[in-house]
Amino acid sequence: MSNAVAHADAHGHAVHHPELQHHFETMQQQKEASTFGMWLFLLTEVLFFGGIFFAYLLYRMWYFDAFAEASRDLDLVLGGFNTVVLIGSSLTMAFAVRAAQTGSSSGTVRWLILTMFLGAVFLGVKVIEYSHKFEVGHVPGPNFHSTSQWAAQEQIFYSLYFTMTGLHAVHMIVGIVILAVITRMAAQGRFNESYHTPVEMTGLYWHFVDLVWIYLFPLLYLVERHN
């Protein structure tokens, strides 16, 4: 409270929380504004990925056989493993937010580091998958190699595969950078029970990236596995 009192003296007005900006009346209102803004950003992200999902839907209708065949060439074990890792990172992120809500800075830092670690594992597996595709010629372009009668259409599947998983991976890299900044802030003791909005907003972003993968996994890896 001494911080707040000193702050109030400096301003010559009523005591308030040191993290409360002057254009908000209460901490609750300030946090609601942040959450509202974050969700509006996520709304634009939904539409950003939505357009790409539509492209996928259209080409899948046109070239279903090629999509089914190319999808079977994706590594289901690695894809499934990554799904577990990413959903696991959402769990650790939820624990990080919870630790922040209960005022445990050390807990917040620990869970955030674990979240970053799981994010890095996901990206590492993605590197293995991508490099395998370069080795066997499953990268669209002049060096594309396939014995399928649908080779040309398979390139469209792989174009969408690289676009969708690539944009997802970019979001993860951005997420890990944000997590690193938030971890540093948490380690400096910047958050407590009454102020931890940045941890919560980072959580919303990280869970959104998980959401995108929840759709990408069945759409890319499981087009038609029963043949």
Partner: protein
């Protein structure tokens, strides 16, 4: 309005449910469900997404304004997908029965 702090056990249960649903979607892909393979995969993914949004993203405990933004994003996503699909479908370029094979 105080902050809602969910118990750790709730998050672990949600994680468990997401793992089970992941296993179910993989298993379902290996069964020939005819035209239903794609709808089943999307239904499971949507169920998983709903769990993440409601619990991990705290929307269940959020204000009506936040719920409205979430609903709005789905509304505009629906417009994006259906209106564009209608355009392509009515050009006679897409054989709609081929939607799921």
């Amino acid at each position: 309005m105080s902050v809602h702090i969910a118990p750790k056990s709730l998050y672990i249960s949600i994680f468990g449910a997401l793992m089970v649903l992941t296993a179910v979607t993989v298993a379902a892909a290996f069964v020939n469900l005819g035209n239903l393979n794609a709808p089943v995969a999307l239904a499971i993914a949507t169920l998983k997404a709903t769990l993440v949004v409601l619990f991990f993203m705290h929307v269940k405990y959020s204000s009506k304004m936040i719920k409205l933004v979430v609903a709005t994003s789905l509304f505009f996503l629906t417009i994006l997908l259906t209106e564009t699909l209608m355009d392509f479908a009515t050009r006679g370029w897409v054989a709609i029965p081929k939607l799921m094979h």
